[in-house]
Each structure stands twice: as C-alpha cells, then as structure tokens.
Amino acid sequence: MSFKVRLTLVALIVLIMFILHNSFWLWGLDDRVPLLFGFMPFAFSFYVGYTFLALIAMRIIIKLAWPDPPAEVLEPCRGEEPLGK
C-alpha cells in the first residue's frame, strides 16, 4: 500500500471521528438510553466510549502511517544556524 493511500485512510479515520463527535442526531437519546453503571447518562457515557475509540484510532494510525525514522535521517546536520538567530 503506497503512503498516499495510507495517508488517505488516516484522513478518513479523522473524518469519521469528527462526524462521531458532531453526531447531533444522537442527542435525542440523551434521556432515553439507560445510565451506564448507574451513574453515566448517554451524554457522558458516549465520550467514555469515544475515548476507547480514539485509542483504537490512534493505534491504527500509528500502524498505518507512523514509521520509525532510519538512523541516518536523525544524524544532526547543522551546518547553518536556525533562522531567527
């Protein structure tokens, strides 16, 4: 799979997470879904679930598009002073 395709998949994951965060059509469930563990209403428990989804999403993104750098790339190349100095 080329890196462009991987990056597109990452963008898709971000889009899905953004849509889920803005899922206003689910707000009608706020007073209908039973309390999770007896104290978490839907407006709260949704984001507990969202947190674990975020964790899974980050794991997929890391697998898909976060390669470790080859050692030679990290070798300092500081022939010139950074701009602003």
Binding site: F39, M58, I62, K85
Partner: protein
C-alpha cells in the same frame, strides 16, 4: 488550614519541588539545548506527563466544573470530546514531522522550524511575535485563575497577592536552576498527584453524597435537563461544531507543548504518548464534569462566576479539612505545572529567537540570559496579574482561537511542498487581523455566519495560504528538498 498536618503536607510538597530543582541543576549541562530541551532526551513517561501537566490548567478543575454545573453532562463532550482524539492526533500530524526536522537541523522552537522550512526570517519573526502575543496574556490569566482558586480554597487566609507570589516564586525555584528538565520532573510529580488525588476526591464526594447512583438518580429527578444536551443553549450544535476549532487543535501550537514534543528522545516515545493521551485527558475532565454536575443538586442556586467555586465548595461542605489540604495541593499542582512551562517557553522564544537578532551568544551565555529573563517575565506577569488590565484579559479571551488559526500554516509547511513564504506570511497575518476584528465587534456578527469567529478565521487561513502560494513563485527545489527529502526517506523509504 491552620492545623499542623495541613502545613506539614504543604511544606512537604514544596520541599519535593525545591529538591527536584536542586538535583535538576546538578545533573544539567550548561548548554542551550540541555537547559531548554533537556538535551532532547525525554522518555515516554516524561514527555507524556510534561504534555499532560502543561495542558491541564486551573480551568480544568475550576472553570470546567463551573461550566458543567450550569450546562450539565454535555459540558464533557463540548469542552473535551474532540480533544480526546484530535489533540494526540496533532502530536502525530504536526509533532512528529517537526520532531524529525528538529533532530536533523537542531530546530528548537516554532520560529526555527517554520522559518527554516520557508527559509524566511519574516515567517520566523511572525511566529515569534504571534506566539508571544497570545502566550503572555494566557500566562497571566493562568496565574490569576490559580491565585483566585488558592485564595478561595484557603477561605481568604492567603490573600490574592500572596497566592500569586507563592505560585510564581515556587515555579521559579525549580525552573531557574534546572530549565526544562526541572519543569518536566516536577510535571511527573505534580501530574501524578493531581490525577490520583482528583480521582480519590471524586470517590470521596460521591460517598458523601450517598454514592454514584444515588446522586445521579437525584439529578434525574430534580434536574433532568442536565442530561439533555439539546436543552443547553450554550452548547447548541453550531457552537459545538465551532468549539472543535478552539481548544483541541490549539494545543500543538502552544509553544510549551511544541517544545516538549521536540524534546522527545525517540519516535517510539511520541507514539506511546499519542496512544495513551486520550485516557488521561478523558479521566481528568470526566472527574471535573461529574463534580460540577453533582454540585448542581448538592449546592444548587449558584449563578455566573459563583459556579466556578463549586469544587472548593463541595470539599468545604461535604468533606473533612484534610480534603481541603489535598484539594489545595491539587490546585497548586495543576496551576504551577502549566505556569512554569509557559514561563519557560516565553523565555525560550526570546532567548533563542529574539535576542540573537541583536547579539550573538554562546550556549552558556544563552542559559545565563534565559535565567535572567525567567525572573523578568515572572515579575512582569506578577505585576499584570495584580493590576489585571482589561486589554490583556480580552486578548487572553481569544488567545486559544489565535493559536488555532496558526495551525493551517504549520500543516501546510509540513505537508504541501508548494506552500511558500508569501502564502505563510499572509496566512499568519490576515486571519489574525480578522479574528481581532470579529472579537472586537468591528464587523457585525452575521459576517461569521453564526459560527464562532475562530471557524471562519481558520478557513480564511487555509484559503489565504493556498491562494497566495499559487499566485507567487514556488519555493526553490533545494529548499523543498531540505524538508521533504527527509520526509520522503522516513515515510516512503526514499521513493514516492
């Protein structure tokens, strides 16, 4: 607060911080990179706690609980929902590529990274000016918020002026000798304290109110509107959508956060941080949300700013004096861990990016001047926190939005080889101006189409970057190669 145990706990807490400062100074080298970036050698836990503790301010426990008190459970998703995913994602999106360039070319701040990518001193200067412009008021507001909380929780025994002085002075005690290493070590200590004590505090309050289920049933019966997001006008969908462009994506632009990313030892450290960051963020804001909502039925009737005192009031009314002491330590830990990092980052920017424009320093002199400037900025911030000028507070009100609208330039610089310095300059200046015009209400409100100003300003930044870059000459190939050659080797193994 006057009991011996209380004073003992506070003294122990301060002693640990001072000890960390002294030890940090002993192991630190007197070089610029070691003082401001801890020698780019921070491990996973250090980076994680440094980012987390710097990210969490007095707002988390005080302001957010007050907001949840009036808004209900919806406050959780509104304030932190999108951040739970997007903040750690920006550590990948912007952080990792910036870190790669930092390792390779020695960049230590945003002006250096983005001035370097565009090969432009003007881009570097714009980053410097805007970051200082937004960070200084934000620092002052952090001090004001923390000091007010300190004074409230001590029932006024410690007056406001003394609270501010204590908070700033203790921060300086370990930051001056040990630089970033000192702030990071104290972040680990303070972050662990406030995360664990906040969870214990939640359980203690729940117990005092009859248990998790009992207090929730009481809310369902007495104040059912707290469960329904649709009934809170403050978090109407258009605000909910707009707010996603304020605090969550601004975090990576904060200079204190960006610098900590650059200080990571390896790519694996950054991966671990990004992976587990959602859990910590969700936990601390979850505690704050629940305390605020529970407070709405336990201590009803608070209006406006009074609601911001709900956590100290819950502790005061329902828990033993020992909890007041622990609560005070939590507030101090949260406030100081963000203030020290902001102070150090402002000092870092001036030492590394402003002073060298007038005079060149060797590495040891830079550390010396950094320490002097820390004291100078702390004194200025203290004075402003005492005077509280309206102009500074109004800038702080949209500082988050200001940081956010700088993000498109950062992303463009790291992902779009056609982006050039003209586009970057225009995309930094124009949206910042528009943001001021909208917040100062020079233009009528309808010009933002009902959104918060940050959203149209963010879109303007993207459009300006693209249009101006296309209308002006492309960057020379060797300049593109300097940045994107590195990325090609890392992400595609040298091919495309």
């Amino acid at each position: 607060m006057t009991n011996t145990v209380g004073i003992g706990v506070i003294l122990l807490y301060f002693t640990v911080l001072v000890g960390i400062g002294i030890y940090g100074a002993k192991v630190s080298l007197k070089t610029r990179e070691d003082y401001f970036l801890a020698g780019r050698g921070l491990g996973s836990i250090a980076v994680f706690m440094a980012l987390f503790a710097s990210n969490i301010t007095a707002f988390t426990i005080i302001g957010h609980a007050g907001f949840a008190y009036g808004t209900g459970y919806g406050a959780y998703g509104y304030v932190i929902g999108w951040s739970i995913f997007i903040t750690p994602f920006t550590y990948y999106l912007v952080g990792y590529r910036s870190w790669l360039l930092g390792k390779r070319y020695g960049y230590a701040t945003q002006p250096q990274v983005f001035g370097g990518i565009f090969n432009s001193k003007l881009v570097a200067l714009l980053f410097l000016v805007l970051l200082l412009y937004y960070t200084l008021p934000y620092l002052v507001v952090s001090i004001i918020g923390g000091s007010l909380a300190f004074t409230t929780i001590t029932d006024g025994v410690v007056p406001y002026w003394l609270s501010s002085l204590v908070i700033i002075a203790i921060s300086l005690v370990y930051t001056i000798p040990a630089g970033l290493r000192g702030t990071v070590w104290t972040d680990i200590f303070q972050g662990a304290i406030f995360l664990s004590v906040a969870c214990l505090l939640l359980m203690a309050v729940a117990r005092a109110l009859g248990g998790f289920s009992a207090i929730t049933e009481q809310i369902v019966i007495e104040n059912p509107a707290m469960l329904q997001r649709g009934l809170s006008p403050g978090i109407a969908p258009i605000n909910w959508f707009s707010f996603a462009f304020i605090n969550s994506i601004a975090v990576i632009v904060f200079p204190q956060m960006f610098t900590r990313i650059l200080a990571a030892r390896s790519s694996s450290n950054l991966k671990r941080v990004s992976l587990y960051y959602p859990l910590a963020l969700a936990a601390i804001f979850g505690v704050s949300t629940l305390l605020g909502v529970w407070g709405s039925v336990a201590i009803p009737g608070l209006v406006g700013k009074d609601a911001d005192n709900i956590v100290p009031m819950l502790i005061h009314q329902y828990l033993s004096p020992t909890w007041m002491i622990l609560g005070l330590v939590v507030i101090l830990a949260i406030v100081k861990s963000s203030i020290d990092s902001q102070l150090l980052s402002v000092t870092h920017l001036v030492t590394d990016d402003l002073l060298p424009r007038f005079k060149r320093f060797n590495s040891e002199s830079a550390v010396f001047w950094g320490r002097i400037l820390l004291v100078v900025f702390a004194a200025i911030a203290y004075y402003i926190a005492l005077v509280r000028p309206a102009a500074i507070l109004s800038i702080a009100a949209f500082a988050f939005s200001g940081f956010s609208v700088m993000l498109p330039v950062m992303i463009g610089a790291l992902y779009w080889p056609r982006a050039n310095k003209y586009g970057a300059c225009a995309a930094l200046i124009f949206p910042a101006l528009m943001l001021h015009i909208w917040y100062l209400e020079i233009l009528p409100k309808w010009t933002t189409f009902g959104f918060m100003p940050v959203f149209p300003a963010f879109v303007l930044a993207i459009v300006t970057l693209v249009v101006v870059s296309y209308l002006t000459p492309a960057p020379p190939p060797e300049q593109k190669e300097k940045t994107f050659g590195i990325f090609d080797r890392v992400f595609t193994g040298g091919g495309n």
